[in-house]
């Protein structure tokens, strides 16, 4: 199983780090990919992840109202919705992609989010492209 976590430099990445620091366990199937801000997210990043073998994609940005660049995480949420629409047209369940807003000190929430996505993959089966 491979879950791609597109995490922002500020909260997303820090929450993953905090999960480790505080000894939270989460599935090893997650691959965090650090980006400057989830506002940099493009729909093609999500599609590309699936094309390269991802079973699920999670986008982790700061809490709404806490984005370091004002509203990057709000843009990201819209793009996740847009990606869902495209995935639906391709016959891929939109549940395979999800936006999470997690603060840098909420390591436990990052761990929960990964478990949530793992649960979805177990329920939905392998992703659309096997690599």
């Amino acid at each position: 199983m491979r879950i791609i976590a597109l995490v922002c430099s500020f909260c997303g990445y820090a929450s993953a780090d905090m999960a480790g620091v505080t000894g939270q366990s989460y599935p090893a199937s997650v691959v965090p990919v650090r980006m400057p801000c989830t506002g940099r997210l493009d729909v093609s990043h999500i599609l590309s992840a699936f094309r390269n073998g991802a079973d699920a994609v999670m986008v982790v940005g700061c809490l709404e109202g806490n984005c370091n660049y004002q509203y990057g995480n709000i843009e990201a949420r819209k793009r996740v919705e847009q990606a869902r629409g495209i995935l639906a047209q391709l016959g891929i369940d939109g549940e395979r992609v999800e936006m999470f807003n997690i603060a840098s000190n909420q390591g436990w929430r990052f761990a929960e989010a990964v478990k949530e996505m793992e649960g979805r993959v177990l329920r939905l089966g392998p992703g659309p492209v096997r690599r």
Partner: protein
Amino acid sequence: MIIAEQKGIEELIGILEGHKDILVVGCRSCVAICLAGGEKEVGVLSEALRLHSDMRSKGWNISEVTLERACEKEWAYELDQLVEGKDCVISLACGVGAQVIQELFPDVRVVPGLNTSNMGAPEEQGVYNEKCGGCGDCVLHLTGGICPIARCAKSLLNGPCGGSQEGKCEIDPEVPCAWDQIYHSLEKLGRLELMDVPIPPKDWGPSRSGGPRKMVRSEAILTDEQNRMKGGKR
């Protein structure tokens, strides 16, 4: 600007049946502004088609490019090398751009990736309103800068119909009545007397009713010699 929106991916996949080497072509002009066919949209559509191809083992070879302005031959010629070996071009330019590309490269099938809709303007980011009907005989000087041809559902020229209620059109409570807007615009301009100027029955000859339109600016046409000197392509 030209307003357009992308066709559904399912429809496009159907159109692409039987093709292998596909070039997705966008345009940085109008369709980029209305977020239908600019560089980003080209990237997203290309990636979606690649994903579909990989899922269904179609073996599509998809490349992408975005032109500065697809409706001008000078820019569209930039595809010269890129269409080499392609059996299909998906045009994310407007219908005009798609036709120019097809005309320049008659050996490659050009399919439309967009549904081109109208001449309009962005109201705000993501909202686009039709503004001009392209009738070829403008009356904006009489109508407070609001086009009754494009913005009145009936294209009425001398005031609203009975379907105008509280400033809205009967076709949809969200659609403003163009003649209500015209009245208020003239009021602000202090030119309400223009409401009394009758606009005679319109000559629709310069509009689409006269068939496809052609405009010639003879002073701008290059002579054969000028073309040779500039290395222009005709």
